[in-house]
Symmetry: C2
Amino acid sequence: VIELTEVSRYYYMGEFVIKALDNVNVRIGTGEYTAIMGPSGSGKSTMMHLVGCLDTPTAGTIYIDAEDTSALNEEDLAYLRNAKIGFVFQQFNLLAKMNALENVMTPLMYAGYPMRRRKEIAENALEQVGLGDRMKHRPNELSGGQKQRIAIARALVNDPSIILADEPTGALDSVTGEQIMDLFEKINSQGKTVIMVTHDPEVSGRCKRVINLRDGHIAEDR
Amino acid sequence: VIELTEVSRYYYMGEFVIKALDNVNVRIGTGEYTAIMGPSGSGKSTMMHLVGCLDTPTAGTIYIDAEDTSALNEEDLAYLRNAKIGFVFQQFNLLAKMNALENVMTPLMYAGYPMRRRKEIAENALEQVGLGDRMKHRPNELSGGQKQRIAIARALVNDPSIILADEPTGALDSVTGEQIMDLFEKINSQGKTVIMVTHDPEVSGRCKRVINLRDGHIAEDR
Ligand SMILES: Nc1ncnc2c1ncn2[C@@H]1O[C@H](COP(=O)(O)OP(=O)(O)OP(=O)(O)O)[C@@H](O)[C@H]1O
Ligand SMILES: Nc1ncnc2c1ncn2[C@@H]1O[C@H](COP(=O)(O)OP(=O)(O)OP(=O)(O)O)[C@@H](O)[C@H]1O
Ligand SMILES: [Mg+2]
Ligand SMILES: [Mg+2]
């Protein structure tokens, strides 16, 4: 369902070029449960942003469901990002002026649900991540792990077929982290494709496939 | 060197009160190497902010080096925060408009060093955390783990006697995380007091004392 063909992402800084990703080739099948690991700065978040259509490659092609993403118009891209793909950001990227419930409701506007239904779906999602009693809190009134869980709830709320999670348990204690991993496994068992960046071998140990990045290349894929 | 006596931190939200910390009593001696653990939302960051004099308690007293922090004037508090205490924030709190080097240099202005010396000290600190080749990058041009390491370098650059680190290896792979732990251990062996919030048992396993928080209380202290 996801295919990267000779994908590179370079950053040009004066006379230097930083090869965040360099000639990456990978295919991920529908319904797979894949972990992406690698040292800090090895290109994991860069790869996730490219797959999530939040960034465009310097070279190479990205296919989502057999479609070349560079050939899609703005409307189809928006559909991909909002309806088909759920993205949990490494830094959460919550909107500071909205509370938890409003943050989780934002992707539902795209799906066209009426207000009352959006509120219901979002409340459910927040209860699923254990934040039923924090719905009216704004991000700066929440702990790190609570913000992370709101980012997760928001990514899942549109029931997307592809979930891209950039270190989704990084700010969580082991018990809460376990609950979140159970949630991702349940979603994967429903046929969704789950790709998760993680530094935690406990997390990658539960994934069927582990891709290791190093300096912008795929070092290992097992 | 750090003492909390019946410290509480409450948040009043309409008709609710959230007891982020509730009647906490703890004494941490000079040169100790203490881990603080507990579930997401249990009050760890709240406790760190109170100890770091970045927040004031709703009740109770906080003593740093035997001084009651509520009795200090603005100048003495600024000295504490800038010179005596180094704080690594859970969300890094880097300044977006400055590059890595400038971010690490900011605490040195307080110490009154001339520009060239500040630059030198900051460059050293960045090399110590493996970011010698990222000095001119701004935070949005850096990976999550790179931002975390800049936050660490900035916290250590004034050679403070108390280091408060809120999940300092949360965004790091195990190898980079090990290097950072070695750095903290080296600092602790020089007599600095190190208090580290962590979810990682590998990290807390290296600390001589582990304090467990739960719902704003100390559940265990060993
Ligand atoms: N806008 C940018 N300009 C220049 N370099 C960048 C930019 N964004 C990222 N980089 C560099 O690209 C490399 C890969 O970054 P990326 O965020 O993908 O790493 P990562 O594997 O997610 O790391 P981490 O585990 O620390 O989050 C890093 O070395 C980073 O410094
Ligand atoms: N400004 C605020 N207003 C209301 N509640 C708050 C505020 N700040 C924090 N809280 C609440 O206080 C509790 C403790 O927060 P704290 O950030 O100390 O948790 P934590 O132990 O650091 O969690 P984590 O491991 O997730 O980072 C949380 O339940 C949080 O929702
Ligand atoms: Mg990353
Ligand atoms: Mg915290």
